[in-house]
């Protein structure tokens, strides 16, 4: 039987996190009372004109450069003409053939650390539509509704569309791609990228072909995926559907299919793909964009380290495993905190243990992010230093960290002030050991009778007597000698 491989391309719509909309000064905020964030421009009133938001253009350039895209010397806005009630002008200002960024690559990695790459075709800038609520049917769906209600608060919000090449070959890879795209945009500060609020929306183009061949099969476009999980499930389901169809001698029809989360299937939205005639033409209300080279260079110079670069550094130079690296990178502030701990402690592994271990636990318990806590990265490094030099043991380190979380400050100072330093003085330890042997004659007898596991009880008694300060390794050593 023929083996098939899937070929997937992803189109993402990402709302930019500017203060105002793309072409007017209305606030760009999620939610709010309907039709309160509108003006003549974003309502498409007669005579109103668009003026582009400089910040949105800068964000586009920043995103493009972060993915290694080309910023062409010339770019322009075009009108995409089609009627829809939530589109105020009944055309969308978009970019057709000369987008602000061309090409680029999204690098992403899998759970096992494998690094992959998917090229971007382009990223272009456009305006978002308003929102329609379908009413009169009871279930909020468009089918069967008897009327719709329109809110234009979202109309005109800057939207960047990232179009990938069809270079993704599995559903998990698609999710990993999205994850990397999302974390990069978050890192760049250009979007909230929240799927639940619609600031990240994606469609997938899916086709299959016999494994080993290069010609692309007929694709379907999958819409209505509202989470990473639904992206994975929808793509898997669609690959399965197409495979079964071909195996049973059927033909794939190019169409748009909606993902039905409840029934875990895709269903046809437009049975016959009607060729849209969008009549794109350059928007005569707007003038071309020619991003100044020095401004582009400045944006480039100010780019932060992006997640895939960080992943390579963490797994490479720092030697973290992919899971640890991913956990850190998913939270950019935590990753930066971690970097400061490492740079002060020079001990990546211990830094990972503290940051992903006790500090993350404390953060979870208190609801305060590690990076915003009262524990400075430098103090964590101090703590690591104390453990490394055997000045304190891990148990004390943990107790100290709890107190540092509550604002106790420098662990070094605490250790000095409260003489918590571990005792390595053989004379002092010998006294604790002798006392313990003397006080537990029956246990000592058991040990000598061959029940050597009771030594643990004696160690515990010694540690308790030393209030935890005795160096456990020295204690064990001496105890074994004395018990002979």
């Amino acid at each position: 039987m023929t083996q098939y491989e899937a070929v997937i391309g992803i189109e993402c719509h990402v709302e930019l996190k500017t203060a105002t909309k793309m072409f007017c000064g209305c606030p760009n905020e999620f939610g709010g009372e309907p039709n309160t964030k509108v003006c003549p421009v974003c309502l498409g009133m007669p005579g109103a004109l668009p003026v582009p938001n400089a910040k949105a253009i800068e964000y586009m350039i920043r995103a493009g450069l972060a993915f290694g895209a080309e910023i062409p010397a010339f770019s322009k806005f075009d009108r995409k003409n089609y009627f829809y009630p939530d589109m105020p002008k009944d055309y969308q200002i978009s970019q057709y053939d000369m987008p602000l960024t061309l090409g680029g690559v999204v690098k992403y990695w899998l759970e096992d650390g494998t690094m992959k790459a998917c090229r971007l075709t382009r990223i272009h800038l456009e305006e978002d539509t308003g929102k329609s609520t379908h009413a009169g049917s009871g279930d909020g769906r468009i089918a069967g509704s008897s009327y719709s209600l329109v809110d234009f608060n979202r109309a005109g919000v800057p939207l960047m569309e990232c179009v990938s090449e069809p270079e993704i070959y599995s559903a998990p890879d698609a999710v990993a791609y999205l994850g990397a795209l999302r974390s990069t945009l978050l890192q760049l500060g250009v979007s909230d990228v929240k799927m639940e609020e619609g600031s990240l929306r994606c469609d997938a183009n899916v086709s299959i072909r016999p494994a080993g061949t290069t010609e692309l099969g007929t694709k379907t476009e999958i819409k209505n995926m509202n989470s990473f999980r639904s992206v994975q499930r929808a793509i898997e389901s669609e690959i399965e559907r197409q495979t079964q169809l071909l195996e049973s001698g059927g033909r794939i029809v190019q169409e748009t299919r909606g993902w039905d989360e409840a029934h875990a299937v895709t269903h046809s939205m437009r049975s016959k793909e009607q060729a849209h005639d969008y009549r794109y033409f350059p928007d005569p209300d707007l003038v071309p964009l020619e991003p100044a080279r020095d401004a582009v260079d400045r944006v480039k110079a100010a780019l932060p380290e992006v997640p895939w670069q960080r992943f390579e550094r963490f797994t490479g130079a720092y030697g973290l495993n992919p899971k640890q690296a991913t956990q850190l990178i998913e939270n950019s502030a935590l990753a930066e905190y971690f970097d400061r701990v490492v740079s002060a402690s020079k001990n990546p592994q211990q830094s990972t243990n503290f940051v992903l271990g006790d500090l993350s636990r404390l953060a979870n318990e208190s609801g305060v992010a590690v990076a915003r806590s009262r524990v400075s990265p430098e103090h964590v490094a101090e703590l690591i230093g104390l453990v490394e030099s055997n000045a304190i043991n891990s148990k004390i380190a943990k107790a100290l960290l709890d107190r540092m979380w509550d604002g106790a400050g420098s662990p070094k100072t605490l250790v000095e002030k409260e003489s918590l330093a571990q005792t390595s003085d053989p004379a002092a330890i010998e006294k604790f050991v002798d006392d313990a042997i003397a006080a537990n004659a029956n246990v000592v007898a058991e040990y000598r009778a061959g029940k050597t596991n009771v030594a643990g009880f004696l160690v515990g008694a010694i540690m308790k007597a030393s209030r935890g300060k005795a160096d456990p390794a020295l204690v064990k050593d001496l105890l074994h000698k004395k018990l002979g």
């Binding site: 003549p40 309502l43 498409g44 009133m45 007669p46 005579g47 109103a48 004109l49 668009p50 003026v51 582009p52 009108r79 003409n81 009627f83 009630p85 105020p88 002008k89 009944d90 055309y91 719709s148 329109v150 234009f152 060729a275 005639d277 009549r279 794109y280 033409f281 005569p284 209300d285 707007l286 003038v287």
Partner: protein, 496 residues
């Protein structure tokens, strides 16, 4: 006093109001009186804003009393009804906007009011500014004050008729392919279209965005200069407005044309316009020469393609610009079973035949399979036409030619669309090239079958941004020829 007031030019009114010899309130009362007396016959206005006018006049008087000197203090203006004015019905002479009230004011209008103007009302036009006679208005008939059986021209016919009938001192018009210059010529006025981008389009309801430009219709060149100085200049609300300093043109008016080369266009012969018009234009060219200009022949070889170019670009842009009239947010709605049928019924009932024709041809020109052959080719032709002007201006300072193909014609005289389009044959090339151009009265002819002599306009055109030169030269021509001194007979009768 009253009858005297309505005859006065904007410059005189502003001077006397600023000097305290005349109040804006007196001026507006006289003007509203004239509107009452004549507008039932002329039909210039779709809406007269009595209350707002009196309110604004009082505000101007208060500002003057407080010591302010306003360049257009107390000057009554007629605003073409495709420009927004807060709280005022703004219709574009279309059923689709018949009941729409603008919630904001167009920049050009706001600047005129700031300069001291007092709005009289909103004037009739060809629906969405598409036409050359005002006959395409869905909301009213406007007549030429010089002969009520004839059209005032268009599309800014209402503003032209209002100024000609002394129902305002300045009319605001918009010009896409000749819509200020042609009615200016038909109504014995100065009709001035500035360089594209000189006057903000914010609040001007778009017909064809890359061509539309606001400008004044006035009885003197000086008034046109004052109006332009007041409303021109960069506007951050219009991305196509030009951020470039504006030199005051009112100070550049000249008495003669010495040292200027005026280009006469080889391809724009006037013989085919008939003996009367030919004679009038030949005499106008001689008048230019008599003022000291050196006449030179220039060539605009692709100008003949202007009409074809224009009738692809303008409808293409309009087909998209007018999509927003969909019955969802404002304006007319005709209910339907679903949203698509609501759109189709609303737009079928809301737009008149000329608007529909242009939307259809524009949609066609942009549609798959035709875009390159029509729209892109027209844009390339536009480049060639602009280059022709550049070459021509290498050999001259100004170009002179007719402003329209005839004097004002009778109602229903142009029954097929193309013959109406031909009226703008001489004005469209300048629009495509974005150049500043104006029409200035240059003589009178009695059209075949007509009784009253009707005015003619000479079109002058200058290089981009050379408004000072253009207005300066027109002023010299106007002063020397005095064609504008003849009044509309309607006004004479009213005065008697």
């Amino acid at each position: 006093m009253e009858n005297g007031i309505i005859e006065r030019n904007a410059a005189d009114i502003a001077r006397d109001v600023n000097a305290g010899k005349l109040s804006a309130a007196e001026v507006i009362e006289a003007t509203l009186g004239q509107v009452d007396a004549v507008d039932s016959r002329v039909g210039a206005y779709l809406t007269v804003v009595h209350d707002l006018a009196r309110e604004r006049a009082a505000a101007v008087d208060a500002r003057v009393r407080a010591g302010e000197r306003l360049p257009l203090a107390g000057v009554p203006i007629a605003v073409k009804d495709n420009m927004c004015l807060t709280g005022t019905r703004t219709t574009c002479a279309s059923k689709i906007l018949e009941r729409w009230t603008a919630p904001y004011t167009a920049t050009a209008v706001a600047r005129m009011l700031e300069a001291g103007c007092v709005p009289v009302g909103k004037t009739n036009l060809d629906e969405f500014a598409m036409g050359s006679s005002c006959e395409n208005s869905a909301l009213g008939v406007t007549r030429n004050p010089y002969d009520l059986s004839r059209v005032p021209g268009g599309s800014s016919g209402g503003s032209a008729a209002a100024v000609a009938a002394r129902e305002a001192a300045i009319g605001l018009g918009s010009d896409t392919g000749g819509s200020i210059r042609e009615p200016g010529a038909f109504c014995n006025l100065v009709g001035f279209k500035p360089t594209y981008g000189r006057v903000s389009r914010y609040g001007l309801i778009a017909f064809a965005s890359s061509l539309d430009q606001i400008g004044p219709l006035t009885r003197t060149v000086e008034d046109a200069a004052l109006a332009y100085d007041a409303m021109g200049g960069y506007d951050p609300m219009d991305a196509t407005s030009i951020d470039r300093p504006l030199e005051p043109t009112a100070q550049a008016l000249r008495a003669d044309l010495h040292g200027l080369r005026v280009g006469i266009v080889r391809e724009f012969g006037t013989k085919e316009l008939g003996a009367d018009l030919d004679a009038a234009y030949v005499r106008a060219y001689h008048d230019l020469e008599a003022l000291g200009a050196q006449l030179v022949e220039v060539s605009l070889p692709t100008a003949d393609y202007g009409l074809a170019t224009y009738y692809l670009i303008a409808p293409a842009e309009c087909s998209s610009n007018l999509s927003r009239f969909d019955g969802v947010r404002y304006g007319l709605r005709v209910e339907g079973d679903d949203v698509q049928s609501m759109y189709e019924k609303t737009r079928a009932a809301g737009f008149g035949p000329e608007v529909k024709r242009r939307i259809l041809i524009g949609t066609h020109a942009l549609s798959t399979g035709y875009y390159d052959a029509y729209y892109v080719r027209a844009q390339k032709a536009r480049t060639l036409i602009a280059r022709d002007f550049e070459k021509a201006f290498a050999g001259c300072d100004l170009i002179a030619c007719p402003a329209a193909s005839s004097a004002a014609f009778s109602f229903n005289a142009k029954s097929d669309p193309y013959s109406m389009y031909m009226m703008d044959y001489y004005t469209i090339p300048m629009s495509l090239a974005g150049l500043p151009a104006l029409s200035v009265p240059c003589g009178w002819v009695t059209p075949p079958g007509g009784v009253e002599p009707m005015p003619l306009g000479l079109q002058l055109c200058a290089p981009l941004f050379a408004e000072s030169l253009l207005l300066g030269a027109a002023h010299a021509f106007e002063r020397a020829t005095m064609h504008a001194q003849k009044h509309a007979p309607l006004t004479a009768r009213t005065r008697a």
